[in-house]
Amino acid sequence: MFQPASLKGESPVPIDEKIRNKYLIIYLIIIILSFIPCSLFEYIYVLYLWNEGFHLLFFLFLPFNFLILIYILQISAILFSVLFLTIINLLFPPKEGIFSRDVRDKNYLFWNLRNLSKKWPLFISASNPFPWLKNRFTLRFFGVRIGKKTICDTCWISSEFVNIGNNVIIGMGSTLLSFGIEQDKFILKRIQVEDNVLIGAKCVLLPGTIIKKDSKLSAHSYTKFDDILKDNSIYSGHPAKIKEV
């Protein structure tokens, strides 16, 4: 809520520069394809509502036109990127583990390609004014499990290998990273956040973190790699340690 444009909580999908330059065409194709349904819709709108002599309906429905356009752009961008994503996943299915950070490593290459195909829908989902079209809506298409009644629209959530339970609150400016780069190593590990967990503002969860049911992570703290936080307890600090009450 009430974040400035620089902190809109776009899901982090970094792309290696070598791969970005080589496969830029995928990104451009997704953008162009997602605008085709929009232009079709505009064509139909003008065709049916622009009558010579009676223009009131055309102008009256212009705000609705704008509103529907946002929906169409969002949904078509997601559909086309999911199409590319399934093709990429058929070529090489995503795996968890520790790999080398090298373009010759297939895990690293295909992680970058997945990111490249997800970039555009995530960008517009973070930029549109409707909070119900943000993280929760878009990330579910990419295989992130997010439960019901969960608040997670003002934080950065990685777009794969994340499980979030029901009734979870994730604070403003928190970051959930399921990938990590350590010198020449590249790490991909699943983050699990179980039901009724509360994560404060500006927390950082590193790959492999498991937060058990009903536990609470205080604001401004971070977890270690492969950290397991016990259920029904309060954690805080750098890195997060259990707090005895």
């Binding site: 974040q3 705000p63 609150i169």
Partner: protein
């Protein structure tokens, strides 16, 4: 150090100010529609003139004649529309906010989840969401301060407050205060199954450092500085003309002049161990 111990709320952790999606969220559609209609009908005469220039016909015969130089006004029109759209929505939702406040006036305190306060804070927050989003999307960065003032946040003159999360009610910011990048100023906090609502007061000429969290009930006296990467407890008082650091705030430093701090830095670099023993602050 004494001031922090006295003002400790009996609270174990600082969480966040979260807002659930409720059916009232759909007010964004109403706001968008109202802004769009205002925009369309104010622009109608201008588009009419341009249409006349292009085709020689008018949608509505207004009795005006268009000239070629109307095309020169097109950039001004496009740029003005952005502001017209945003400010008509801000005014409209400020009206809704006043109605909501009359129906159920906002109160400070600790409330249960699902109570009436909880419900109405959600409504006020969702009502303020879209206008502030728009104000922050405008090309002038200080327009969101203008928007915040409409929702009952009192912000003084010459304030920098446009690069962080700020709740839209129960906040007071004095003149000449600077808030830095990526800060959170919360007047609402989720705590177990309750919600804490308390007024945040930030005095004149304060500095709120980057990546900090200001919890509800915090009082920053005039000239206080909150250091980078720190957060305050609920109801903590920060004394004036001191630098406050820590997670949560537990240390204070005097504000030095630039020359003094430079001198000190040079001393530390030349003889780090000796200086550390003599310095009681570290």
């Amino acid at each position: 150090m004494n001031n922090t111990e006295n003002s400790h709320f009996k609270i174990e952790y600082i969480s966040t100010s979260g807002v659930y999606k409720t059916p009232f969220t759909l007010i964004i559609l109403l706001q968008l529609f109202v802004g769009g209609i205002v925009l369309v009908f104010i622009n109608l005469w201008f588009v009419n003139q341009l249409y006349f220039l292009l085709t020689g016909k008018q949608f509505f015969s207004l009795g005006l004649t268009a000239e070629w130089y109307y095309w020169l006004l097109l950039p001004l029109n496009l740029y003005g529309n952005i502001f017209l759209f945003a400010f008509s929505i801000i005014l409209f939702s400020a009206g809704i906010n006043k109605i909501l406040n009359k129906v159920y006036p906002p109160r400070e305190g600790v409330f249960e989840r699902g109570s009436k306060e909880w419900k109405y804070t959600h409504r006020r927050f969702w009502n303020a969401y879209f206008p502030i989003w728009l104000a922050r999307a405008l090309p002038i960065p200080w327009s969101d301060i203008f928007a915040y003032r409409f929702f009952g946040v009192s912000i003084g003159k010459n304030v920098v407050a446009y690069e962080g999360y700020i709740d839209p009610e129960f906040i007071e910011i004095g003149d000449f205060t600077m808030t830095s990048l990526n800060i959170c100023i919360f007047s609402h906090l989720i705590y177990h199954e309750q919600i804490i609502i308390k007024k945040v007061k930030i005095g004149k000429a304060c500095v709120v450092g980057p990546q900090t969290i200001v919890s509800p009930g915090t009082v920053m006296q005039d000239g206080a500085v909150l250091g980078a990467n720190s957060y305050t407890w609920v109801g903590q008082e920060l004394e004036s003309d001191l630098i406050h650091v820590g997670t949560p705030v537990s240390m204070t430093f005097p504000i030095q002049s630039l020359e003094e701090s430079q001198e000190k830095a040079e001393r530390v670099i030349s003889d780090p161990l000796e200086n550390r023993e003599g310095d009681d602050r570290i």
